[in-house]
């Protein structure tokens, strides 16, 4: 199977993580001369002399890459001069929102895409299937930026059904139930944008692999044994369609990050993406660096977890290794 050859080793992930850390260590040191002054002169943030010295010291530490690594694991990622807070606390505050938005969108789009793909493949033929596949292919061509702006214009600004920005109503002392509803109401537009971006791919891939699988002989056996159709469909057939889905998720996660960044920024959702956008806009270098590094390592971690999931899903992998 081609999917098996795409599996990576733990070593690759460790190397990738080290490479990211090293790039983040090296890049500021490659810059010529007094880049701190130059960079912050064009920024809205004004540093006083003491802060400037601190920042320069942060970038010219002489304890080498080892010291940098140690600092990284101690969560001392520098100080944000735009938000006047340590970088690590800013990131950890934004992280739950990103996990809620991205995790939710991925989970739902995967589940929905999987079920829809399996069911469509099961009932092959007919105009409904053709129309569905056509629509999904078109939808696949619309970037998050396009759907997001349209949803924002129509549902938030024109109709006013949903809030246009933020993740919760500020300073509202509400009961827990109201609070959850409030969060959901803020979530729905960015969530829908991401859902619309992820769903078509999951659907098309599941359907494609399912059509192939449905031709296998072992399904005939399962049916001949008299197993109920639902069991044949999901326990026997669809299980195989899950594998390419997991593989695709891992391969595209890094790419999908870009879309999530745009969506968060667009809806001013207070996650890592918006934080990164603000940090870039204000040229807050330690913060940019911290977020980039943190989220890259997070992506690597998710990919590593996926490997474990994959081995669990595919018993052949266990025997192969």
């Amino acid at each position: 199977m081609q999917t098996n050859s795409r599996r990576y080793s733990v070593l690759s992930y460790c190397l990738a993580a080290l490479l990211m850390l090293y790039a983040s260590y090296l890049l500021p040191r490659l810059l010529p001369g007094d880049f701190v002054t130059a960079m912050y002169s064009s920024s809205q943030v004004t540093l006083n002399a003491e802060q400037e010295q601190e920042l320069k010291a942060f970038y010219t530490q002489e304890d080498g890459f080892g010291g940098y690594l140690l600092d990284f694991f101690r969560l001392s990622w520098g100080h944000s001069y735009a938000f006047l807070e340590p970088v690590s606390s800013l990131i950890l505050k934004a992280l739950p929102w990103t996990l809620l938005l991205m995790g939710g969108a991925h989970l739902f789009s995967m589940l929905a895409g999987f079920v829809a793909g399996v069911e469509t493949a099961w009932r092959r033929g007919g105009t409904a299937e053709k129309a569905g596949v056509g629509l999904m292919t078109v939808l696949q061509g619309i970037p998050e930026l396009g759907t997001g702006v349209l949803l924002l214009l129509v549902f938030a600004l024109h109709l006013g059904w949903f809030p246009a920005s933020g993740a919760e109503t500020a300073y509202a002392d509400q009961s827990p139930v109201r609070q959850v509803l409030d969060v959901l109401q803020h979530l729905i537009l960015p969530f829908s944008t991401l859902f619309l971006a992820y769903f078509p791919g999951n659907f098309l891939l599941t359907r494609g692999s399912m059509v192939m699988i449905l031709k296998s002989r072992f399904l005939e056996t399962a049916r001949a044994k008299g197993l109920p159709p639902l069991r044949v469909r999901y326990a026997h057939a669809a299980r195989n369609a899950l594998l390419p889905l997991v593989t695709r998720f891992g391969l595209r996660l890094a790419f999908m990050l870009t879309g999530a960044l745009v969506v968060e920024t667009l809806f001013a959702y207070p996650g890592l993406g918006t934080l990164l956008f603000n940090a870039i806009a204000m040229r807050d270098l330690p913060l940019v660096q911290g977020i980039v590094l943190f989220s890259s390592l997070l992506v690597l971690l998710v990919n590593l977890a996926l490997e474990a999931v994959y081995i669990r899903l595919d018993p052949r992998m266990k025997h192969a290794s």
């Binding site: 292919t137 970037p143 870009t258 870039i280």
Partner: protein, 279 residues
């Protein structure tokens, strides 16, 4: 073999739609000097004026003609995408062919590098570079290409390994053909369908990246781009000229990505026999 595939391709509605869109964009870009007389950087018009016979899509907040801006942005976005995709393809094909043909240490080494690169989120490296160095778009396109070649290399390598075992390659080798000759005359042309698929999918990714990064403000603010136009127009969404300012770049970007997506989907469908029946 390829000629028959080409005929099937032309009959595919997705390919036709994609090709029509592509010609439309090519025409828009080629005819730019005749379509608009304005320089997109010219700032002397009445800011925020609605569309008129002179300014087809009106004027933005900085007093620049939006239609001229749109065409320039479209060109920049497209150029970034095509360049990144082209260089990525070049790297990928070179690495994939070399790995499959020479095997040994080179194969192990390059494939290991490929795995590491595939695990790294390219966008994060681009953001880091853009934030620290403020490099030219050209440089960023090259960095993107340097980060995204592995997936092409893997496909090319796998297919080359299959081809390598075929009889006609063995026959060519028997007749005393050199490695270089076989690579150039047999393998390179035979892998042609894979180049198309790889190029289309990389172009899609790169265009999407460029739009997103420029939307986030990572490029030089003087450089026109669809993403930047969207982010500027969004600030004035409440004015009723949004449909002539905000909508055109969004439509352009969506159609552009759709065009490349359709081409990629269609190419993959026609060229990949495994998918023939699935779609």
């Amino acid at each position: 073999m390829h000629r028959e595939l080409g005929r099937r391709l032309i009959r595919d509605p997705w390919f036709l739609t994609g090709a029509v869109l592509m010609f439309l964009f090519a025409f828009l870009l080629a005819a730019r000097p005749w379509l608009t007389a304005f320089d997109p950087h010219d700032m002397r018009f009445q800011p925020l004026s609605p569309p008129s016979a002179e300014h087809w899509l009106g004027v933005n907040d900085g007093g620049m003609d939006i239609f001229a801006e749109l065409l320039k942005g479209l060109g920049n976005t497209l150029a970034f995408g095509l360049l990144a995709a082209g260089v990525s393809l070049l790297f990928g094909v070179g690495a994939g062919l070399a790995c499959a043909w020479f095997r040994g240490l080179l194969d192990v080494l390059l494939m290991r590098i490929a795995e590491v690169l595939m695990a790294i989120p390219a966008v994060m490296i681009l953001i880091l570079m853009a934030a620290f160095f403020r490099p030219s778009p050209l440089f960023l396109a090259l960095v993107l290409a340097a980060l995204t070649w592995p997936s092409i290399a893997k496909v090319i390598r796998a297919q080359t390994l299959v081809l390598k075992g075929r009889l006609h390659i063995g026959a060519a080798r028997q007749m005393g053909a050199s490695s270089l000759y076989i690579l150039r005359r047999h393998l390179l042309p035979e892998l042609f369908p894979l180049y198309c698929i790889g190029f289309a999918s990389k172009a899609r990714m790169a265009i999407f990246m460029e739009a997103s990064l420029s939307f986030l403000g990572l490029f030089d603010p003087g450089r026109k781009s669809l993403g930047m136009m969207i982010s500027q127009a969004l600030e004035y969404y409440y004015l009723d000229i949004w449909w002539s300012w905000l909508l055109p770049p969004i439509l352009c970007l969506s159609l552009l990505i759709m065009c490349v997506t359709f081409l990629a989907v269609s190419l993959e469908k026609v060229f990949d026999p495994r998918l023939k029946e699935a779609l």
